[in-house]
Amino acid sequence: MLKRTFLSAAGAAALALILAPSAIAQAPKLRIGVEGNYPPFSMIAPDGKLGGFDIDIANALCAEMKAECVFVQQEFDGMIPALNAKKFDMIVASMTITEARKKSVDFSDPYYDVPSRFVAKAGAFADHSPASLKGKKIVVLRNSPRAAYLAENYKDSEVVLAGKETEVYMELAVGRADVAFGSSVVSAEAFLKKPEGKGFAQLGPAIRIGAGSGVGIAVRKDDEALRTRINAALAALKASGRYKALADKYFDFDISGS
């Protein structure tokens, strides 16, 4: 008899353990997928703290939505699968809004918009045309719209796929690639202004790819409620001037794209 009571108590305890995670999931904590290798938008300080424009925007949005937020760091090329597997609820990782991505996720209104740009040794190439870069190695972030753009338009160049945006410039700096194709802001801020970027320069004009509507916050397709909340919070940040104050911390030009 005693044994049976013990067993059922143990059973109840086990059941409680199994049910516990769903109770936690009901708390209004928002989990945000971020990247950490995309300076100055998303980066990890030497003390391990996340920082950058993406992180500041995410924090400001959470404050505006009165939500408690936790950051989940995830490699960029696994972001969308992880979002759809409910590892987190939204992605704030400088994700360009593209038609391909719109098939898997929904996007908020854009929160910034910067073009892409080629970078190479100063004076190494006359221009950025496919003919001029024929047979050359172009390094780009794997599984990014920029990689798709190169595959489409630079068929005669060898495309080297790096795992992180920061590695894109590392590969260029040491000479494993002849040209890098990346965010015009990341290349300018995190590479060309650094000692490693000495002797390199932007090549050709700014290029707009994707749906042409900038960078947005991704949410799951069935999460229209969250998307509406994010858009309202974003509009409030812009109206109150807090967006501009955050952007001015990092950029000496307007990145809002509007």
């Binding site: 699968p81 759809n84 898997s104 599984n143 080297v160 796929l161 790096a162 795992g163 590969e171 494993r176």
Partner: protein
């Protein structure tokens, strides 16, 4: 449930990834086998000037993760201007060379220890018999010690081959698109993790069993003399 059409569609990608993984493994283990034979002889040498450096090498390599070694060779060394300006740079610039070097150095350390262990465990009778016949040390290594040690090291060496095969999956960290990278790309582009990683698991499983089978065949051929034998019955 399972998206067979996706698997059929990405099959060529997987075959290409398989080719890359197998080539990486083949060039790495052939280099490591060739290097580890002389290193194992040095490792068991009574001369400390020979044995200690080899010990230090295997100690450092076995004490650090392969991924860190690969990062050091690919990203770390590339930081130095003198290397980038040297004649070795065309090699270190190449991701394949860096992966091959990392895998070969790593596997050499383990294979050296496996062979050295087998050399040490050579029955002393075999050595005494060889000496009594007046064989030189070189002849003893060539005819007695090495053939016997390599045979007895076969089972552990089989494990090492499987480990190297599985380790090739980290070559993707330096832009090489091998089997695991292929699976991750399929996963990312089609959002079908079960199909993408399930198929790659089947690939690794088949390769591993082929390797294990091959080593078993070799053991049957070369370790026949160590198999338990049935004793003829006395009643006859």
């Amino acid at each position: 449930m399972i998206d067979w059409a996706l698997l059929a569609e990405s099959w060529p990608l997987y075959l290409n990834g398989l080719k890359v993984s197998l080539i990486l493994m083949a060039i790495s283990v052939s280099a490591s086998f060739l290097l580890s034979v002389p290193l194992a002889i040095a490792r068991v040498s009574p001369n400390p000037w020979l044995s200690k450096p080899v010990f230090l090498y295997t100690y450092v390599i076995r004490g650090t993760p392969l991924l860190v070694q690969l990062y050091m060779i690919y990203f770390g060394l590339a930081q130095f201007e003198w290397l980038r300006e040297s004649i070795a740079w065309p090699l270190f610039r190449n991701a394949w060379f860096c992966a091959w070097l990392a895998f070969a150095l790593n596997s050499t350390a383990y294979t050296t220890e496996i062979l050295a262990g087998a050399l040490r465990q050579t029955p002393s009778g075999e050595l005494e018999a060889a000496r009594s016949l007046g064989m030189s040390t070189a002849t003893i290594y060539g005819r007695i010690l090495l053939p016997s040690a390599i045979r007895r090291a076969l089972p552990q060496y089989g494990n090492e081959l499987v480990m190297v095969m599985h380790a090739t999956s980290i070559a993707s960290a330096v832009t090489i698109v091998e089997l695991t990278r292929t699976a991750r790309d399929v996963y990312y582009n089609h959002l079908a993790p079960f199909e993408a990683f399930g198929l790659v698991a089947v690939f690794y499983f088949v390769i591993t069993f082929a390797l294990v089978g091959l080593v078993k065949l070799l053991e049957g051929r070369f370790l026949r003399h160590l198999r338990p034998m049935s004793i003829p019955s006395k009643a006859a």
